[in-house]
């Protein structure tokens, strides 16, 4: 702000005359605290009005001095010289506070004190808020961590239970005396591959378990064949959504001398693609 322009604007004189608006007064009170020139200009304007009052003074009727003194005494506003200094003020202030002239300080006094105090509270409140936010964040993260751990544990448990179920299924197949287990071994160029066919001799149901087979490429599916009298007969495709360890139920086979698996296009074929033969095993 241009202080010289502010001083010459007439706002200070308006303020001293009691003409300034509330907004102008609050701005002025803010500036005067930080600017000696403005403070000085205010004092100058005040002195001018004081000088005016001096020059226009009028003689008070002599009797009034005693009248006023008597009234102060009657209102118990006097401190006798032998008494402590502090006595009468509190009562005096509350007593007549209503008739304060507008320019008295008591209107602005609280405004001046409150900000300093409320800054203190604001800072304390902010610190508490930050602390609280920090603690919340800490607990929130702890909780998130716990949740994640719990989820992981649950998932691990689930998968173990699933695996167990699969193993139990297979175990029950193996235990079943009617079931014949036929191991299928990798062909010449894929010696590591390995699968198991569980064939229920009573119900003719066939279950396939891919013990050691690579995951199928996209668009492909393993297809099981039963060799019946030298001819391959489809026993169905291994479901894409089935778990590797799972023994999946295939088509029933009444009679077969051997089983084989080829990698076929998704959905399977009527005749096996012999170049895609993976494993086979005879009974």
């Amino acid at each position: 702000m241009d202080i010289a322009a502010y001083i010459s604007s007439g706002i200070i004189e308006s303020y001293v005359l009691g003409l300034a608006s509330e907004e102008e007064v609050s701005i002025l009170n803010c500036i005067r605290k930080n600017n000696v020139e403005v403070e000085q200009a205010i004092a100058e304007a005040e002195k001018a009005l004081e000088g005016l009052a001096d020059i226009q003074a009028m003689a008070m009727p002599a009797a009034l001095k005693q009248d006023i003194w008597n009234r102060l005494e009657a209102e118990n506003q006097i401190v006798k010289d032998d008494q402590p200094d502090s006595l009468p003020t509190e009562e005096a202030i509350s007593d007549d506070a209503v008739v304060q002239p507008p320019m008295l300080n008591d209107e602005e006094e609280p405004k001046r004190i409150v900000p300093a105090r409320s800054y203190g509270w604001a800072i304390a409140a902010s610190l508490l808020f930050l602390l609280s936010a920090g603690v919340n964040l800490f607990f929130y993260q702890q909780q998130q961590d716990s949740k994640a751990t719990l989820a992981k544990t649950t998932a691990a448990l689930d998968s173990q239970q699933a695996t167990l179920a699969v193993l139990q299924d297979k175990w029950s197949l193996v235990q079943n005396p009617a079931i014949k287990t036929i191991p299928l071994k990798g062909v010449e160029n894929k010696p590591d591959l390995h699968a198991l066919v569980f064939w229920d001799q009573a119900s003719k149901a066939v279950y396939l378990s891919l013990e050691q087979m690579p995951a199928v490429p996209k668009g492909k599916q393993y297809q099981l064949w039963a060799m019946v009298d030298g001819k391959p007969v489809s026993a169905g495709v291994f479901p894409l959504n089935a778990k590797e360890e799972m023994a999946s139920k295939m088509l029933d086979v009444a009679k077969a001398q051997a089983f084989a698996i080829t990698l076929e296009d998704e959905g399977g074929k009527d005749v096996p693609t012999l170049t895609e033969l993976c494993v086979m095993g005879s009974i």
Binding site: S8, S9, G10, I11, E13, S14, V16, L17, G18, L19, A20, N29, K33, I42, A43, E44, A45, E46, A48, L49, E50, G51, L52, A53, D54, I55, Q56, A57, M58, A59, M60, P61, L64, K65, D67, I68, W69, R71, L72, Q77, I78, V79, K80, D81, D85, P88, A92, I93, D95, D96, V99, Q100, P101, P102, M103, L104, N105, D106, E108, R112
Partner: protein, 188 residues
């Protein structure tokens, strides 16, 4: 008749806060006439002025503890108590100031007429030896100080009454103070 003011303000404040007879005597002897002058110009009769000035002293006496030296000068503070008490009194008594009843043409007039109207006012107001330094200000400045200081008009009201923009009220206020300061210098 001028107050003596030979005590620095800080000393006077300390003295007043003692609230003893010495403090009262000092306050009265040095400021009563000046404050009475302010009151007399606002309530236009000695009878009312004597009533008001007593209230003024009681208020100063009771509220001196609320005075804040950072907010202004003690003398100015006391003058404002006198002004406001007198303006409130006038309002409460329904004493409408002469100027507010006068048509505007009577307020804004030639200097010659002004002197006449001023002397009439003096007679009416029953104040003999009523020195008015304001008469020596330029008319537009005198009116402004009288309306604001002695009549309690707001800035807005002054602008409307004188039919000038608010900004002009401020610049005239500034001009009035400059003239007043010069006049005071000449008096001393």
């Amino acid at each position: 008749m001028s107050p003596l003011h030979n005590l620095p303000e800080e000393t006077l404040i300390l003295l007043l806060k003692k609230k003893n007879q010495q403090a009262f005597s000092y306050l009265y002897d040095n400021y009563a006439d000046a404050l009475y002058g302010v009151v007399c110009r606002i309530v236009a009769s000695t009878e009312h002025a004597e009533e008001v000035i007593q209230d003024v002293f009681v208020k100063i006496w009771k509220h001196v503890d609320l005075f804040d030296a950072e907010k202004g000068r003690l003398y100015t503070w006391m003058i404002n108590i006198a002004r406001n008490t007198a303006l409130d009194y006038r309002k409460s008594k329904g004493v409408v100031n002469e100027m507010k009843n006068q048509p505007l043409s009577n307020i804004v007039n030639t200097e010659e007429e002004q002197d006449q109207s001023q002397s009439e006012q003096h007679t009416k107001a029953d104040f003999i030896g009523f020195r008015n330094i304001l008469d020596k200000l330029k008319p537009e400045c005198r009116i402004l100080i009288e309306m604001a200081y002695y009549e309690g008009y707001t800035q807005q009201e002054i602008a409307e009454q004188l039919d000038v923009p608010l900004g002009t009220v401020k610049t005239r206020t500034k001009a009035a103070f400059l003239q007043l300061k010069q006049l005071l210098k000449d008096y001393r």
